[in-house]
C-alpha cells in the first residue's frame, strides 16, 4: 500500500451545508480527495456521513457550498451529471433493483455507455445486439472479479445479504468510475465477508486505480485500508488527516472512539 502513488486533489468539497426543514444535517463541511487514494468518512450514527455522499452525487441539494471536480465547480450536482463525470456509488441500505437478476443489475450500470435508440432496441438487430454483447462481456469480467458467477441469473432479491452487497459494488464498478463512493460497504457483514469486501475494495483501488471515498463504522477496517480520514459529528467536521493523526485527535477520541459502537 505504501508503494501506491497518490495523485493530485481531484475532488474538492467546500463549505457544504444541508438542512431538512429546520434540521441541520451538515454544516460547513470541507474536505478534499486525491486521485487514487482511499478516503474514509467516519462518525457516529446521524453524523451526516450518508448525507455528505448524497450531496456529492446529487441526491440531496445542499443549501450552501460548492463541489469542485477536476477544475469544474458545481454548487448543485445532478445525479446524471455526476454519473457522467465518472462517480459511482454503493448504498448503505441496499438499493439494488430487486426485480432483476444479477446480470441485469450489473448491465444497468452500463446504461450510460449504451447508445442505441429505442427503435434499434425494439428490432434488436445489428447495433443493438452487438452493443448488448459487448457490454455483457464487460459485465462478465466484473462477475468473475467479484466471484459471483454462480448467481448470474438469480433475482438479486433472493441472494444473501453479503452477496447483495457485492452485486451493489459490482453495479458501481460496471460504470467504470473514476471515483467510487462506498456507503458502509461492510455494514452487517460477518468477518469473512468483511475480509472479502476489503480485498475487493483494495483490488479495485490498485488494479483499476480507482479513487475511493468510503463511509465505514468498523474502525479497524477504516484505519487499515484508508489513506486519509474525515471525521464528522453532528454534521460538523471534527477531524481530518491520516489514520494516525485522527487516532490521536482529542475531539475525535471524545466524540467517537470513546463511545462504543
Amino acid at each position: 500500500m505504501t508503494t501506491k502513488k497518490i495523485g493530485e486533489v481531484i475532488l474538492d468539497v467546500n463549505n457544504i451545508s444541508l438542512s431538512f426543514g429546520g434540521v441541520r444535517a451538515l454544516s460547513d463541511i470541507s474536505f478534499n480527495v486525491r486521485e487514487h487514494e482511499i478516503r474514509a468518512i467516519i462518525g457516529p450514527n446521524g453524523a451526516g456521513k450518508s448525507s455528505m455522499l448524497n450531496c456529492i452525487n446529487g441526491v440531496y441539494q445542499p443549501q450552501q457550498g460548492s463541489i469542485n471536480f477536476r477544475g469544474q465547480t458545481f454548487s448543485q450536482m445532478n445525479s446524471r451529471q455526476v454519473a457522467e463525470l465518472g462517480f459511482a456509488r454503493t448504498f448503505q441500505s441496499l438499493a439494488l433493483f430487486k426485480g432483476m437478476n444479477v446480470i441485469d443489475n450489473l448491465m444497468s450500470g452500463r446504461n450510460l455507455k449504451m447508445k442505441t435508440n429505442l427503435f434499434q432496441q425494439a428490432l434488436y438487430l445489428g447495433a443493438a445486439r452487438r452493443e448488448e454483447n459487448e457490454h455483457r462481456a464487460f459485465v462478465e469480467h466484473i462477475i468473475d472479479f467479484l466471484e459471483i458467477q454462480a448467481y448470474r441469473k438469480t433475482p438479486v432479491g433472493r441472494l444473501p445479504y453479503g452477496l447483495q452487497k457485492r452485486v451493489d459494488l459490482g453495479r458501481a464498478l460496471a460504470m467504470e468510475p473514476q471515483v467510487l463512493l462506498l456507503d458502509e460497504p461492510m455494514a452487517g457483514m460477518n468477518v469473512e465477508e468483511k475480509q472479502d469486501m476489503c480485498r475487493f475494495v483494495l483490488d479495485v483501488n490498485d488494479e483499476f486505480g480507482t479513487t475511493i471515498v468510503l463511509i465505514e463504522h468498523d474502525m479497524g477496517v477504516v484505519m487499515d485500508i484508508s489513506d486519509r480520514v474525515v471525521v464528522l459529528d453532528y454534521g460538523k467536521k471534527i477531524g481530518d488527516g491520516t489514520p494516525d493523526e485522527v487516532r490521536s485527535n482529542a475531539d475525535v477520541i471524545k466524540a467517537y472512539l470513546g463511545t462504543t459502537h
Binding site: 441526491v59 438499493a95 433493483f97 448491465m107 452500463r110 455483457r136
Partner: protein, 358 residues
C-alpha cells in the same frame, strides 16, 4: 423427462440472451404458433373467433401495453381506456378524412396520436408518484371520454357522436371473415409482442425496471427518470392506442366513447395483475383469463343452478361474476403477486427438475 436443459451449453452471449434459451421452449413456441396460425383457423367455430379469440387477442395487446407501464416501469395507470379511445378515434379520423388512406397506416398513426396524449398525461408522473399518479391518470380517462362526446370534429360531425368504419382491408385483402380478422389481430399481437420483448430485455427495459425497483439508485447510476418514465408512457400508450384502433375497427366496427370507459381501464389493469406484473407472457394469460371467465360463468352458473334446482336469472349471474372477479384479484395479490405468469414459471421449474423436488 423430455423437458431438460442439460447438455445445452451456450457458446455466445447472444445465445444466452435469447428469448427462449431452452430448446424445448423454442420447439413449444413453434408448435404454439403453428396451432395459432393453422390449426385454430381450420377448427375454430365462428363464435369462437368473434366472441373469444378476437377480443382476447386485442385485449392481450392492450394489456401488453399497460404491462410495460405498470409492470415494467411501475407507473400505475387507471386511464388505459382513454388511450385506447384516442387510438381508435384518431385512426377513424385518418380513415375518413384522408381519401385512400391504408387502414394499417391509420391504425399505426392512431397509435402515434395515443403516444402523444400518453406522454402529455405522463408528465405528472415526473412530479407525483404511486397513488397520486393513479388518480392523475383518471383525469385522462374522464377528459378523453368527454372530449369524444362533446367535440363534434372528432366524430366527423355524426349526430349521435358514435362512429363506424367502412370495410377494413389491408393490402387489398378484405378483413371481413372472422378468420381473416383473427389472423390480422394475431399477427399484430405477435409482432408487437416481439418488439415489446426486445425492448424489455435491452437497456431501455432495464431503465424502466430500475426506476420501478429503486428510483433513487437508478438516478445515481445515471438514468434520467424523465426519459425512463416518459418513454414507458410513450411505448405503452402506442401499443394501447393500436389495440384501441383494432377494437374499434376490427371487433366493434362501430363504437361510442362508452366502449372505452373507465371499466375498460380497470378490466385491463386486472388482466395485468392476474396475468403477472412485469411479464409479457403474463399479459396474455391475464387477458385470456378475464375474457374467458365471465363467458364461462355465464354459461356454467345457470347449468349448475339448475342441477341444485335453483335458477339464477341473468342479473344474479353477472353479480356473481363480479364477486368472483373481486375475490380472484385479492386472491392473486395475496397468494401470487406475480400472477399466472409466475405460476407458469413455477410449473416449468418443477417440470425441469422432475422427478426431484429441488
Amino acid at each position: 423427462m423430455l423437458y431438460r436443459e442439460n447438455g445445452q451449453f451456450k457458446t455466445s452471449y447472444s445465445a444466452d440472451q435469447q428469448i427462449f434459451p431452452i430448446l424445448q421452449d423454442r420447439i413449444a413456441m413453434g408448435l404454439l404458433l403453428a396451432v395459432a396460425f393453422v390449426a385454430v383457423p381450420l377448427l375454430g367455430s365462428e363464435y369462437m373467433f368473434r366472441a373469444i379469440f378476437i377480443p382476447f387477442l386485442i385485449l392481450s395487446l392492450a394489456a401488453l401495453g399497460l404491462n410495460i407501464l405498470v409492470g415494467y416501469c411501475g407507473q400505475i395507470s387507471l386511464g388505459t381506456g382513454a388511450f385506447m379511445a384516442v387510438g381508435a378515434y384518431a385512426a377513424y379520423n385518418f380513415q375518413v378524412r384522408i381519401e385512400g388512406m391504408p387502414v394499417l397506416l391509420s391504425m399505426l398513426l392512431g397509435g402515434v396520436c395515443a403516444t402523444a396524449v400518453g406522454v402529455v398525461f405522463g408528465i405528472p408522473s415526473l412530479r407525483i408518484k404511486g397513488l397520486y399518479l393513479a388518480v392523475a391518470t383518471l383525469a385522462a380517462q374522464f377528459f378523453v371520454d368527454w372530449a369524444f362526446l362533446r367535440i363534434k370534429w372528432f366524430t366527423n360531425d355524426s349526430a349521435s357522436g358514435s362512429v363506424s368504419v367502412a370495410n377494413v382491408n389491408v393490402f387489398g385483402l378484405a378483413i371481413e371473415t372472422p378468420v381473416a380478422k383473427y389472423l390480422f389481430c394475431l399477427s399484430f399481437l405477435i409482432v408487437f409482442g416481439l418488439l415489446a420483448k426486445n425492448l424489455v430485455r435491452s437497456h431501455i427495459g432495464r431503465e424502466w425496471m430500475a426506476i420501478r425497483d429503486m428510483d433513487v439508485a437508478a438516478a445515481v447510476i445515471g438514468i434520467r427518470p424523465v426519459h425512463a418514465k416518459l418513454s414507458a408512457f410513450a411505448v405503452s400508450s402506442f401499443i394501447v392506442g393500436v389495440a384501441g384502433a383494432l377494437w374499434g375497427f376490427v371487433y366493434l366496427g362501430s363504437w361510442e366513447p362508452a366502449a372505452f370507459s373507465i371499466d375498460r381501464s380497470f378490466q385491463l389493469l386486472f388482466m395485468v395483475i392476474i396475468g403477472g406484473l412485469g411479464s409479457i407472457m403474463g399479459s396474455f394469460f391475464g387477458a385470456a383469463f378475464i375474457v374467458l371467465l365471465p363467458i364461462l360463468l355465464d354459461q356454467l352458473l345457470p347449468a349448475l343452478g339448475s342441477l341444485v334446482g335453483l335458477d339464477f336469472d341473468t342479473a344474479v349471474v353477472s353479480h356473481v361474476v363480479s364477486m368472483i372477479f373481486g375475490a380472484l384479484i385479492v386472491f392473486f395479490l395475496i397468494a401470487e403477486p406475480h400472477g399466472l405468469a409466475r405460476l407458469w414459471a413455477v410449473a416449468k421449474e418443477k417440470l425441469r427438475l422432475w422427478p426431484f423436488p429441488h
